[in-house]
């Protein structure tokens, strides 16, 4: 017996950001963000059916981050899962849970507190396979530079950014680093008063490509292409040429600038209107979720009826994985 797909909405989102949060512990800022989003809806944790969390152990210095974070997030007594591959995946899994009928709502949280890491680049080095890559040395910045250099060789203009850190990247090309926690409440249609939603989720696509940097074309955006294809196949109205705005994370501005070259987009589409990568502190693990929250926020700035927005995130070196969530301001277009 086949039912048509349920509609899932975002009721609220909250973000807590800090360049270097040394007054509060990670657990405390998780608690604050959870309370913030619940308070904004006039809800308590009693009203939440389940939680999906996302944290990265090496950046935060925890082993099994779900252990200290579940309590402050509000997970005691509740079904709580930690999605460890990226915080965008946590949002997507929350969405899947509601499609599957597992409750009427879900609290999704993702975070990273790189200020606790004395050397976050070194933490990234630990994600290298231990046999060759770690000995040679790789991290997000270097991988982003490799990718950018390939894009330049294919005709993308270099940027104006001075003080090249890893050619061709300069400091304005790279994302700023900071601590952040995001919390969202998703709910299934019929469980809330119509009009209370701030965005509908149209669809989501996600995939991960080969680990070895040498085994893939790091400038062909294959992960992102496949993710967008998944959406186009399932929900043709939500395809990239219908997006009015895009909020995209990326390991460098070269990635952001490539999006319009690589994909069929609407003319006049707004890209990263919320701010450049260098202006909005984040951390790779949570950067996609951050842009998804910003994408949701863009909707109210767009004219009614022209309000489909995509939030895009990456994970792994040079965008090994990509995730896309398409939001809209009204039910179906």
């Amino acid at each position: 017996m086949e039912n048509s797909r349920k509609r899932v909405a975002v009721l609220a989102s909250a973000g807590l950001l800090g360049n270097f949060e040394n007054k509060k512990s990670l657990e405390e800022i998780i608690f604050d963000a959870s309370k913030k989003v619940l308070d904004s809806l006039g809800l308590t944790i009693e009203d939440i059916d389940s939680l999906v969390l996302a944290g990265q152990d090496e950046i935060d210095g925890r082993v099994i981050s779900i252990m200290p974070s579940t309590g402050p997030a509000g997970g005691v007594g509740k079904d709580t899962t930690l999605i460890a591959s990226s915080s965008d995946h946590a949002l997507i899994y929350g969405y899947l849970r509601l499609l599957a009928g597992q409750g009427k709502n879900v609290l999704v949280m993702g975070w990273a507190k790189p200020s606790e890491s004395v050397d976050p680049d070194r933490a990234e080095l630990m994600s290298c396979e231990p046999f060759l890559l770690r000995r040679i040395g790789m991290n997000n910045t270097i991988a982003a530079a490799l990718q950018a250099s390939k894009l330049v060789s294919q005709g993308l203009e270099t940027s104006n950014s001075t003080g090249k850190l890893a050619w061709p990247l300069g400091d304005r090309d790279l994302p700023a680093r900071g601590d952040s926690v995001y919390a969202l409440v998703l709910a299934v249609e019929g469980s809330f008063t119509p009009g209370d939603e701030i965005a509908w989720i149209e669809d989501a696509g996600w995939t991960t490509m080969s680990y070895e940097l040498g085994a893939r074309d790091i400038n062909d955006f294959s992960a992102l292409k496949i993710a967008i294809e998944q959406i186009s196949n399932r929900s043709p109205h939500a395809t990239s040429k219908n997006w009015h705005a895009i909020e995209i994370a990326g390991d460098s501005e070269y990635v952001v600038r490539s999006v319009s070259r690589e994909f069929e987009l609407k003319s006049g589409v707004e890209i990263n209107k919320s701010g450049a990568l260098a202006d909005l502190p984040t951390s790779p693990f949570v950067s996609g979720l951050a842009r998804m929250v910003m994408a949701i926020d863009r909707i109210k700035h767009l004219p009614k009826g022209g309000n489909m927005v995509a939030g895009i995130g990456f994970n792994g070196f040079a965008g090994q994985g990509a995730a896309v969530v398409v939001f809209s301001g009204s039910k179906g277009e």
Binding site: N3, S25, R62, P68, T80, H89, A100, G101, E129, Y211
Partner: protein, 398 residues
Amino acid sequence: MTLDNVGIIGFGQSKFVKTRIDVTFPELVREGATMALENAEISIDDVDAVVYPLAPDALIGVGNGERWVIDALGAVGKPFMRVNNGGATGMSAVLTAWTHIASGLFDVVLVAGADRVSESSSAQSVLNKMWDVGYERPVPLNTITMLALSAQRYMHLYDSDETDMAMVSVKNRYHASLNPNAHLQSTVTIEEVLASRTLAWPIKLMDACPASTGAAGLVLVSERYAKKNGLKPAWIRGLGQNSETYWMGNRVGPKAMGDHADADALAVAFQRAYDQAGITNPREQVDVAEIYAPFSSVELHVIEAAGIADKGKSPAALANGDYTLGGNGVTVNPSGGTQCTNPIAVTGLIRVGEAANQVLGLAGAHQVKGARVAIASAIGGDHQFYSTMVICSDLEEI
């Protein structure tokens, strides 16, 4: 509640051992994926999405280790995510896969992985880092001490002793001797268990699980896919997860939500699964339980949390021959359980696979005769995260 039922059509697992020096970690993961696909009689091209279980990165020594094994899993270009719920990871990943299918978006999902716990010579000090930064790390808490504390409290509250724990070890080792994949396959006697050296009182060496290496995988399918392809899966009839407070100090004293001696939060998780499956009397309706218990003492209160015995009463039933293959009532851990095989990232997955094998009549020498309804559970964190499932050979009323 759901659009479609979800079933298990393939389960593969290694022969578990202490170390495997013949393979890299990705090669080991590949074994898990390959065995699952072979058992399901499908190819990776038939798989719509992959969910990957991996507990602490620190144990395999690669941060975000899931990215390293994408190719080994055959997941390149497919929707992919990784779950980490501590020791419950293997089962949480299966539940995540269930959600993928029940959402209606996917028909075939692969869950496969591996662990090599002994590769990190510092496993217990790695696990010391799961404790609170400010308060608990200077004190030597790890998985062994935390479970020793729970065992000690159980003994105190229910007038139980180390012999009760030893009986669990004897039973599980006997079961494992019939399981060609189990890590520890030699039987033991109560005397041998009691004489084995103490790790952290009352946990002795023979009460504890080994650090295992190996791989395992499962293939889940939607009901419509099963029907279309004429498959007879082991059906997932119920599932439930729950979490408890992280603070062990909160689990004692008159104002505690649940005592550290018990597993009340696990009982809640079981109840969620039972409600979904329509189980009202587990003692009568359940044939087999594959329940995660890395130490003998843990099994006692998990049996009780599953509603198979009243609190404090499982030792007496065990002494009576219950829970053992060929004995009365529910057979508990006919595979030997986590106590005999513990590759952390996939331990929870193996419980599901073993339960599925039981209801499909595929468990070989450790088969429970006529098993139709099985339960499976897993525990993560400091007895903090609980996953439970009800698995049945058919979709009729239980």
